[in-house]
């Protein structure tokens, strides 16, 4: 299945992509989608989740279908709309600072 992913602008620049990207996965979970993103765009390794622990970086959040999925298990299936490509998985930088 093809999953759509929207990255924050700084990571789009780093990966040299415009707009959203798509990755192919067999089962749509945070882990499988981010594994596929990092395989396709290796320069993103370490920028969304930790190299070793694979934990989400503290100031990033994962949203889809207007829900915050950041604290879901990384192996929980993503919403059906994401798995079917009707909605993207959003990687969002926290509004931090003042």
């Amino acid at each position: 299945m093809m999953v759509r992913v929207v990255l924050p602008p700084h990571l789009r620049t780093l990966a040299k992509v415009k707009g959203e990207l798509t990755v192919e996965v067999s089962a749509a979970t945070q882990r499988s989608v981010l594994d596929a993103v990092e395989e396709q765009y290796p320069m993103l390794c370490g920028t969304i989740r930790d190299h070793a622990t694979k934990e989400r970086r503290a100031f990033l959040r994962f949203f889809a279908c207007q829900e915050d999925l950041s604290h879901e298990s990384i192996d929980t299936p993503l919403p059906q709309e994401v798995a079917e490509g009707r909605e993207p998985l959003l990687v969002i930088g926290a509004v931090a600072g003042g």
């Binding site: 924050p8 620049t13 320069m43 370490g46 190299h51 970086r57 990033l60």
Partner: protein, 371 residues
Amino acid sequence: MSGVRVLVGTRKGAFVLTSDGKREDWKVEGPHFAGWEIYHMKGSPVDPNRIYASQTSGWFGQVVQRSDDGGATWNPVGNKFAYEGDAGTHQWYDGTPHPWEFKRAWHLEPSLSDPDTIFAGVEDAALFRSADGGQNWQELPGLRKHGSGPHWQPGAGGMCLHTILLDPSDAKRMYIAISAAGAFRTDDGGETWKPINQGLRSEFIPDPTAEVGHCVHHIAMHPSRPGTLFMQKHWDVMRSDNAGDHWTEVSGNLPTDFGFVIDVHAHEPETIYVVPIKSDGEHFPLDGKLQVYRSRSGGNEWEPLTKGLPQENCYVNVLRDAMAVDSLDKCGIYFGTTGGQVYASSDAGDSWKPIVRDLPAVLSVEVQTLP
């Protein structure tokens, strides 16, 4: 005709400033990596087109960029800095043990002989090396696992390894400095390390003459005299003439000996430069007057250099990696400020002018003298 390329890392991107050998007219390119903190950029001494940049962000972590065409285009290389073995703990600000955690690369030092080999000084303090142009990084764990490692404590800016000096006369000798552990030397290519802090005195630590624990801000060396080192400590300007085995204070007549930068004239190994800063509590020049001080005697006797620098209402800082020299005749001196100015002198400091005035806060300045 020869020329100069100035590599400027700022809080919000990288800038490349170029001029011919006259150093009068400058072309400013950037920002590269807009919006990211660029802690440091440095070119390979053996291939000036090869430049490395440390790009960091509180959101996205560490990226290392490499240019193979003098800074015109860039590509990300490896950013995995994994401590060797069990990372262990160091001391936190309150004295409790705190796990070693990678935060960012403060300083990148390309090898003197191989453009693909580069050293990285990182926070939490450790030294890494890449032998493949920055694709893969391995820690040199002998430093961090020096017996004193568990007692190192961060300075106010974090526990950073910020200075790396490679000895041009001895490929196995290297100096590094850590805030706030102090200076260390290896004589065996990084396998083992020796603290070289004898003679330093820091009143703000429990034992002012401790073997480690000193807040060294920067160290400079002239390549023709690699055994002579000049140090800007938190307070005190110091020199060593025996490869760091012992230091003596050379603050002399400086109006304040607090500061961050120190550098050496390209052709006169006893001519050194500092930018005095009022105090550790007030990180700006004395009386709002931005002054570089030059000593032509390797310290102790200092003269203020003010021509072209603001002499009123100036309250910027000059951070530890934000001064560099070119090797043209006359020697050019460059420094950047937290107010976004990059000042240049093409006459060894006698007079100054800003190359640019309104960049983001400058974190680092390096210079390449081009053929």
